[in-house]
């Protein structure tokens, strides 16, 4: 303990001035919580998507049939 005391001599000024410096720092934008999705929007889109897929498939088969006949 005596060696510790010799290594570190505490400095406690009895008088002097205290400085405060406010360096303007940059701000980060905050983390973003995402709003949760509800069910109705995806359902409509799914119906549209499946309908479009079936139509596309029908068109593809028609085109292939036309190619075969020609």
């Amino acid at each position: 303990m005596a060696e510790m005391k010799s290594m570190f001599r505490e400095v406690l000024p009895k008088q002097g001035q205290l400085y405060v410096e406010d360096i303007p720092t940059m701000v980060l934008c905050k983390p973003i919580l995402l709003p949760l999705r509800f069910m109705t929007v995806p359902k409509l889109e799914k119906i549209q998507q499946t309908a479009q897929d079936t139509i596309r498939q029908q068109e593809m088969t028609e085109k292939e049939q036309q190619k075969i006949t020609h």
């Binding site: 701000v27 983390p31 973003i32 919580l33 709003p35 509800f38 479009q52 139509i55």
Partner: protein, 511 residues
């Protein structure tokens, strides 16, 4: 088993395609395929059942639909007042922020509203001034897919019947004798729903509804509600309002209250809608949908304290309500209580919601609540569940925040860059990347990134403030002053901005 009974059983078990096929077989035995034979009640029953099955396959409740496209937003003439008083309009962003945390803590969307708990269709976010703003404005808080007109959203005319009966439509609308059907209310009701939901032919549906209402001598509330729905779909809001009010006088039903409130919201009269809901609550005390409706309207009006109160009421009545749980969770997070928020989002997970936004929120709450073991796995799950680029970008952006929190600036830099790769218009990511570039000493790059960020979302205060700080440091006081003014305009209560402006004013006074 008797075929009609089997078909009915399929219907009750929601096996609609099987039900429709079986009904088709039953109907094939009857002489005419367009109309049910009045002599055979079995064929009438099969016809009604088939119509209902086909309708149920594509049925989406009208209360939940309605996505406003750009055309509707720009050309909307339904607003009553050109300059509404504060607190009475849904279209003025951020004029009446009562209660709730400031922009230092809670991010705002492009329209100037705080981030909301739950996305539903129909989240209209303010009125754009010009067409360019309208195109730029995201449809929701975080997707930028504007749609030209809302008629495109509904299943197109005939698409559904191509899907459900590929051999040709079940009912040929052009050959229907509506007057005859109007006389038979039971057939007419099933037919109306088929035309309205499956065929999406609002005009024919309107004709049928009008004839049926007359036939019922204006005493059937159901037909008035259907008329109101048709008028609403055709955007004739005042007529819809009349019909719903008349229906309410006859028979008060929760659904009618909800439809009428939707009309008032489309007319931009939120206070009337709230009063209507309160009237509904007198009749149906504790009804969850009404309470939730009031909470949503308060949220859209930026009245966060009342919104929170009503969301809590909703949860008292129904503690599995995902929308309310999500809102309260987000509220707690931004009120510096991530552990409480974590509990709420865990509850949402228990409710069966399993998508990217939920895991993103869970990851953030875990990190800030110091549950570091769950953080990265949640974000990994979120990335794997992401459905579009904006979600991926948001997840990478939040990962960047985590990296900053951990102290790994290289990782943070990479995360923000990845966020920008996924979404080129992500203003917050530009801002944060600029902050990191500034730490590395790349002043010009930082300034360029901040310019981009501030041009993307003008009412974000951070890019303006950061630009002001940088300009001040390099000595460009004029630019610093202009940027600081913009920051103060976006967020007047920010202390650092005020201090900076005062410093600059003193400088200029000395000159």
């Amino acid at each position: 088993m008797e075929p009609l009974f089997l078909a009915w059983s399929y219907f009750r078990r929601r096996r609609f395609q099987l039900c429709a096929d079986l009904c088709t077989q039953i109907l094939e035995k009857s002489p005419c395929d367009q109309e049910p034979d009045p002599a055979l009640p079995v064929s009438q029953a099969a016809w009604i059942l088939k119509a209902r099955a086909l309708t149920e396959m594509v049925y989406v409740d009208e209360i939940d639909t309605d996505q406003d496209g750009i055309a509707e937003m720009m050309l909307d003439e339904n607003a009553i007042a050109q300059v509404p008083r504060p607190g009475t309009s849904l279209k003025l962003p951020g004029t009446n922020q009562t209660g709730g945390p400031s922009p230092t803590v809670r991010p705002i969307t492009q329209a100037g509203r705080p981030i909301t708990g739950c996305l539903r269709s129909g989240t209209q976010s303010g009125r754009p001034g010009t067409l360019e703003q309208a195109i730029r404005m995201p449809r929701t808080a975080y997707t930028a897919r504007p749609i030209a007109s809302s008629s495109g959203r509904f299943v197109r005319l005939g698409t559904a019947s191509m899907l459900t009966s590929p051999d040709g439509p079940f009912i040929n609308l052009s050959r229907l004798n509506l007057t005859k059907y109007a006389q038979k209310p039971k057939l007419a009701k099933a037919l109306f729903e088929y035309i309205f939901h499956h065929e999406n032919d609002v005009k024919t549906a309107l004709d049928l509804a009008a004839l049926s209402t007359e036939h019922s001598q204006y005493k059937d509330w159901w037909w008035k509600v259907q008329l109101g729905k048709c008028y609403y779909r055709l955007r004739l809001y005042r007529e819809a309002e009349k019909q719903f009010k008349s229906a309410l006088k006859q028979q008060e039903m929760v659904d009618t209250f909800l439809y009428l409130a939707k009309v008032y919201i489309s007319l931009d009269q939120p206070v009337t809608a709230i009063n209507l809901f309160k009237q509904g609550l007198n009749k149906f005390p504790g009804e969850v949908t009404l309470l939730y409706g009031i909470a949503r309207i308060y949220e859209k009006m930026n009245n966060m304290s009342s919104a929170t109160e009503y969301y809590k009421e909703t949860l008292k009545q129904d503690n599995t309500h995902v929308g309310a749980i999500a809102f309260i969770g987000i509220d707690h997070f931004y009120a510096e209580q991530p552990e409480v928020a974590l509990r709420f989002f865990r509850r949402v997970l228990q409710m069966g919601v399993y998508n990217c936004p939920l895991f993103n929120n869970l990851g953030l709450c875990c990190f800030y609540a110091q549950q570091y073991d769950m953080t990265l796995t949640s974000f990994e799950r979120a990335l794997s569940l992401a459905e579009d680029e904006e979600e991926v970008a948001a997840v990478w952006y939040n990962l960047g925040h985590i990296a900053v929190g951990v102290g790994d600036m290289n990782l943070a830099h990479q995360c923000f860059r990845l966020a920008l790769v996924s979404d080129n218009n992500f203003a917050e990511a530009y801002n944060n990347l600029a902050v990191l570039e500034m730490r590395r000493g790349h002043v010009e790059q930082a300034k360029a990134l901040l310019q981009t960020a501030s041009s993307l979302i003008p009412n974000l205060y951070e890019p303006h403030y950061n630009f002001a700080t940088i300009s001040d440091q390099i000595g460009d006081l004029q630019r610093s002053y202009t940027a600081a003014q913009k920051s103060a305009a976006a967020f007047p209560a920010h202390m650092d901005t005020k201090r900076l402006i005062e410093q600059l004013k003193q400088h200029f006074a000395v000159l």
